[in-house]
Amino acid sequence: MTVWIALLGGFSVLVIEILGVHLLSPWFGSSTIIWSQQIAIILLAMAVGAWFGGNVARRQTDLHSKLSKVLAVAAAFFVLLAYGVDYFAAKVLPSHLNLDQVAGLFQVGSFASAIIFFAPPVFFLSWVTPILVELRVADGSSAGQAAGRLGAIATAGSLAGIYFSTFVAIPILGVRASIIAVAILLAISSLMLSKRLRLAIGLPLLGLPLLVESPSLYANIPPSATLVESIHTPYQKLRVIEFVDESGGSVERWLQMNEGLDSYQSRWRSTAGELSQWPGGYYDLFALLPTYIEYQQVDVKPQHNYCILGYGGGSAVMPIATAEQNHPYKVIGIEIDPVATQLAEKHMPLPRELSANIEVYSDVDARAALRFCDDGQDAIIIDAYSRQFEVPLHMATKEFFEEAYGKLSDGGVLCFNLGTTSTELGDNVLGYVTASIVASFGAEHVRLQHVARSRNWIIFARKAKLLPPLSDMAVLLPNGWPIELGTSCLPAECVEGDALKLNPTSALSDDKNSLMANQFFEWAGD
């Protein structure tokens, strides 16, 4: 019994630590800062709990009874957190927020939720080991041996908790059901210790509220949107939402991650049942790539090879296909989360005739995958976000851009999507990422194009050849493309030439990289 309880204590703490972030993510996101905060609060609760637990173990006489009560209280807090976080966040958070408004609020909100809902059960579970040590000592073990063995067993339980959370709880049981299951295990252990096991018959009732739809499904949903499907994956929470314009007969769907708000991971539009060639937003700018690739090339390339790092639902493909017209092309898509691609295939399908041109690889990190792509890529699109506003650090360094440079053909183009609150180059995210690209490609080969009506910039960088001058774009673009594509080619909406040479920031490197802090303070301070 001692071994089981030590194992269960370690297991339960890690389940809270990992699943707790998944409970928070629909409301507050799961940025690195929120993860750090969650780990810090759990460790703090463990430290304070162990301190109190040690005192309790020394003072109390009936330790079996105390242990039973501690497990019962921890079980009660598990039940509370399984349902409480959603209702607490739903009650306090205002509706219809935009991403640019909320970074600071989400930081405070996730901190409060973690303190109120996650710290108490961990605090009480941390009493378990000191009490068990005291029991072992009372049975004749040495204190050192008891502490060592029970510590090892609890750590083994924690290890099991990590793998249970990632491979069983999130993909199979569900986050809330798993937390309730752990609560039931704790409660049964408590009843076994107090020898009132027959009461366990009523414990499945704790799961009854699971039959009620969780408010987190609709967390931060934009106004006028309806939910199509929502799912937790080991990487993130994903959902597809839909906007229907009944008068125009158009449907727009967004694939959203974590806190959602007014941002999307992929976008899909259809009118009267016809899929739009232009998903809108920054995706439309990818249609410029064939023009940039072929500019001043002696011979037209027989086929254009695209590599998309951060493929998501494949929204980048339609503008490319439209721009290529009948020219052969091939797209390699890299998407770390296979569920994102599956959800998009289900609710945001691309035309079947395009599938022969597309290969998608999942469950692999984009930078690692790029190394295995063939040389001679004509375009590498980097549209990768590890969380809502976080460009992965290892995909914004000069070393990474050097690797991408090496994979491009002569005249090939790197294309980087950057969502940022920065509007000019400086000591900010835009400045650092641009400096890192310029370090590999050279300032004369780089252009930043602002995306109309958004905070996104697309950074184009061409290997060994110049990008077409903006003054030529009126001639180079075909008729009928969205006016916003023209907007992104207006001089005041672009940054290039001397402005890039005056960028005061230095390139990020794999060894020294301030991007995470820059991103957080930029969004939180806006």
Partner: protein, 157 residues
């Protein structure tokens, strides 16, 4: 994985932008770039065209060449500022000033447009207050929780 932040600008109906219908407004990327290359329009008219294309930075650039800004110029600048959330507080002051300084335009579409913009910015201001209120509520909840927790632990532990 992707991110985009759509700046919500649904409050500029095209009827309000189309003050001068004598111009053939660009309707695609190519015609917009041609317009930029050869335009002989006044900066005010250019601002109108760029606004409809979502070119906020180009509006400012276009109006920089205007020595004295008319009320229409200022209206376009105001609309351009709405594209950038960090300028919303400043834009609200400008919108109120515009309405104060142009009572003679009371019945015009331009006036109605600025009223609409002002209301949009007031909504944004209200949202900012709600966000501050929610932050305070989270912090108060933590304080109340700590108090309750300490009392309970001292009482029963």
């Amino acid at each position: 994985m992707k991110i985009i932040i759509v700046v919500c600008l649904i409050l500029f109906p095209s009827s309000l932008l189309a003050q001068n219908t004598s111009l053939s407004a660009p309707n695609d990327a190519k015609s917009l770039l041609k317009y930029y290359a050869v335009t002989t329009d006044s900066p005010t008219q250019q601002a109108r065209v760029y606004l409809s294309a979502g070119a906020a930075m180009q509006i400012d650039s276009s109006l920089e060449s205007t020595a004295v800004l008319s009320s229409e110029d200022r209206r376009y600048q105001l609309l351009a500022d709405c594209f950038s959330p960090s300028l919303h507080a400043e834009a609200l002051v400008d919108a109120n000033n515009w309405l104060l300084n142009n009572p003679q335009l009371g019945d015009s579409a331009s006036y109605a447009n600025v009223v609409e913009v002002r209301d949009f910015l007031l909504d944004k201001q209200q949202q900012t207050l709600e966000i501050k209120g929610a932050s305070s509520m989270f912090l108060l909840s933590v304080a109340a929780f700590f108090l309750a927790f300490v009392v309970i632990v001292r009482r029963y532990v």
